[in-house]
């Protein structure tokens, strides 16, 4: 018996209709971008919460009043889901190939929004479509209670909530960079556009900045071009270190952690601008030996290199930071004073702000007199995290149960 072919656009909708919807939406999105020539920005407070309420209300109304309507059934079903996932996947693949937010793109990419996809109409539509499908399928599956549906809920509602909170909240995120020093408290930061933050309700002062470095590394460079010639080889300069770089056997005879060069020699001096220095002996495979001091120098004192041959120099690279820490004093509007240790990856929370260690005066390294911190306030973060935690639980379930496809189903 041959199945009769269902006419286009007659319910129940399948792939054809789902993809027709997606293509229509995509074309309208492109057209809108062309006509308006404007980027879409996430709605700002209170418009974001209004948009959110409207979206949630739409999902709830569809679900409560028309649960049996073929359109709602379609919108909460796998055909719509597959078209929605494909649509989104298509857009992010474009993002993966077309450099985003760069100015030298082709005109056509700018006009259609393809050079800034996340702030284009088409992306907005793709996201709304996914919101609706995910929201409706979550509600539909909630009606039958089973362990499997709990995890269905965790995966789908978790993703829905994450997208929702991240989308709604993106315009409410406040982010300011602040340079702090020891002399006086700083009250204001600047945002990415260079605008001042105004009063933050906080003031920060640097008590002490400290940094720990890895041992500096030695490289052989081309004297003319400066290119590194001992690539893929690592030689750490520390006391008594021995090893090979290219055709040279290197031995460290003396190592000073903080030194200053005077004439040909480096002396251990602990003063602002002092830099590591090493007395090295380099022995060529031909037996030729050169020795002398090398140092990376600093903003205040010159460094030194060793001439291995006419075209080869042995240099010390500036040591890389292992960790850095700012002891800071935080003054609140209420008159409280807190002391805190700030380091990378260990932000400090206070009055709704999270303070991050971002950088320091890198030209001065250890002798930096400032610390650069970032203050971030994201009132929606807890909702994003709630979504992410659900996703974790859902993922653990997938890992434990695997698929339910069995041989018998084939």
């Amino acid at each position: 018996m041959k199945k009769e072919k269902r006419p286009f656009w007659v319910f129940p909708w399948g792939y054809r209709e789902s993809f027709a919807v997606v293509i229509t939406v995509a074309i309208s999105g492109f057209a809108l971008s062309f006509i308006l020539q404007k980027e879409v920005s996430a709605p700002t407070w209170p418009n974001n919460i209004i948009t959110g309420v409207i979206l949630v209300a739409a999902i709830l109304l569809f679900h409560i009043f028309f649960p049996k309507h073929s359109f709602v059934k379609w919108l909460s079903g796998s055909y719509a889901a597959i078209s929605s996932i494909s649509f989104y996947l298509f857009l992010i693949i474009l993002m993966g190939f077309i450099p985003q937010n760069s100015n030298n793109s082709l005109e056509i990419l700018n006009g259609s929004g393809l050079s800034h996809i996340t702030s284009s109409h088409i992306f907005l539509f793709a996201q709304i479509y996914m919101f609706l499908v995910l929201g409706l399928v979550t509600l539909r599956r909630l009606e039958r209670f089973s362990t499997r549906n709990i995890f269905f809920f965790l995966n789908h509602f978790g993703l829905w909530l994450t997208l929702f909170a991240a989308g709604m909240g993106s315009s409410d995120i406040k982010r300011f960079t602040m340079e702090i020093n020891k002399n006086e408290p700083s009250f204001q930061g600047i945002n990415s556009k260079g605008e001042s933050s105004g009063d933050l309700g906080l003031a920060l002062q640097l008590e002490e900045f400290s940094i720990e470095h890895y041992s500096p590394k030695a490289f052989i460079i081309n004297a003319k071009t400066g290119d590194i010639m001992s690539e893929n080889q690592i030689f750490s300069l520390e006391k008594n270190a021995k090893g090979n770089l290219g055709e040279w056997q290197i031995a460290v005879k003396d190592f000073i952690e903080y030194g200053i060069g005077m004439g040909e020699k480096f002396h251990a001096v602990y003063d602002i601008g002092a830099a590591p220095a090493a007395y090295v002996e380099a022995k060529h495979s031909s037996g030729n030996i050169v020795e002398g001091w090398i140092s990376c120098g600093s903003f205040r004192f010159p460094g030194n290199f060793l001439e291995l041959s006419e075209e080869k120099l042995l240099i010390m690279a500036e040591p890389e930071a292992k960790s850095y820490l700012s002891k800071i004093k935080i003054y609140t509007k209420e008159g409280e004073v807190y002391l805190a240790d700030l380091s990378v990856g260990r932000p400090v929370s206070i009055n709704g702000w999270k303070i991050y260690q971002i950088s320091y005066d890198e030209s001065k390294g250890k002798w930096s007199e400032i610390s650069i911190v970032e203050l971030v306030k994201d009132p929606w973060l807890w909702l994003v995290y709630a979504g992410l935690i659900m996703l974790i639980a859902g993922a653990v379930y997938l890992i434990i149960t695997g698929s339910r496809t069995k041989n018998s189903e084939l």
């Binding site: 796998s78 889901a81 597959i82 996932i85 494909s86 989104y88 996947l89 992010i92 693949i93 993002m95 993966g96 190939f97 077309i98 450099p99 985003q100 760069s102 996340t118 991240a166 982010r175 890895y214 893929n232 080889q233 690592i234 750490s236 890389e320 930071a321 292992k322 960790s323 850095y324 380091s343 990378v344 990856g345 260990r346 932000p347 999270k354 991050y356 970032e374 971030v376 973060l381 994003v384 995290y385 992410l388 996703l391 974790i392 859902g394 993922a395 653990v396 379930y397 997938l398 890992i399 149960t401 695997g402 698929s403 496809t405 069995k406 041989n407 189903e409 084939l410």
Partner: protein, 272 residues
């Protein structure tokens, strides 16, 4: 111990796995063509696979001690983990489904990845930038490598499904294995993505910035999500499912290894 001393353990693994794969493939062809069973040699293959795993674990521990940091930073270091998990997964898949061809190809890819590492040894750089010194570093990398191994196996399954399909003698056994590998692999992929977001928030104050690497991680995630949903209701058309699976892994490889060749990759903060 010097690095040269303990590379012996990687060599042992390389040889054990290689032999195990060869024995298994010979058994496979004998079974296909002569319908003979060889219990003894199966046991030898098991033994070699396991001793290779033990030996490579010793190697990783030694490397970890020598570097004084988790050996998970460079591309070569991720390849090392990948080869371990790939062999582990193909072994487990073999134990569960007795699919010899998968075991052989999985273990051979593990050998290949390890071999690339042995032929192009990386400089032993002990440095770990402050942002990587985080409790999230290890779980983030490990779950991703497990996910990549599972999904890599699912790619092999897709190929083994597609080949007989085009020769019109396919029985469809592969989809069962593929579904299980993808569900579990997708779970790990989700964990990797979420851990990455949580880590980024702690280290840089942003959980998501659409950095090219993040974009590609999202692409990979959605590609496998597509497979799961395509399979859910449309059990009949398995060939499209296998094709999705085949291309999803290509996207995964671009995300993992191909970034440096893309023009967008140059702007990524994720290096290696």
């Amino acid at each position: 111990m010097k690095p040269d001393d303990f590379t012996i353990f990687a060599n042992i693994s390389l040889i054990s796995w290689g032999l195990s794969g060869i024995i298994m493939s010979i058994l496979f062809f004998r079974e296909v063509f002569a319908d003979k069973k060889h219990k003894f040699w199966v046991i030898v293959a098991h033994f070699l696979a396991i001793s290779g795993l033990i030996s490579i674990i010793i190697f990783v521990v030694e490397l970890w001690l020598l570097l004084d940091r988790p050996p998970m930073r460079t591309l070569g270091e991720t390849r090392l983990w990948y080869s371990i998990f790939l062999v582990l997964v193909s072994y487990l898949v073999y134990l569960k489904w007795k699919y010899k061809a998968l075991f052989v190809s999985g273990i051979m890819f593990g050998v290949l990845f390890l071999l690339i590492n042995m032929l192009h040894p990386e400089a032993l750089n002990k440095n770990l930038p402050p942002a990587l010194q985080s409790a999230w570093f290890i779980p983030h990398v490990v779950v991703y490598m497990i996910a990549y191994a599972l999904l890599g196996m699912s790619w092999l399954v897709a190929i083994f499904g597609l080949l007989p399909y085009f020769r019109k003698q396919w029985k469809g056994r592969e989809t069962v294995i593929a579904d299980n590998l993808v569900y579990i692999g997708f779970g790990f992929l989700t964990l990797g993505l979420v851990f990455g977001a949580l880590w980024a928030k702690e280290a840089w104050g942003n959980y998501w910035t659409w950095d090219p690497k993040e974009t590609w991680a999202m692409i990979t995630w959605f590609a496998y999500m597509l497979y799961i949903h395509y399979r859910f209701r449309h059990n009949k058309n398995k060939i499209t499912a296998l094709l999705i699976l085949f291309f999803a892994f290509i996207l995964l490889i671009i995300c993992w290894l191909g970034m440096q060749y893309l023009s967008v990759g140059a702007n990524s903060v994720h290096t290696y």
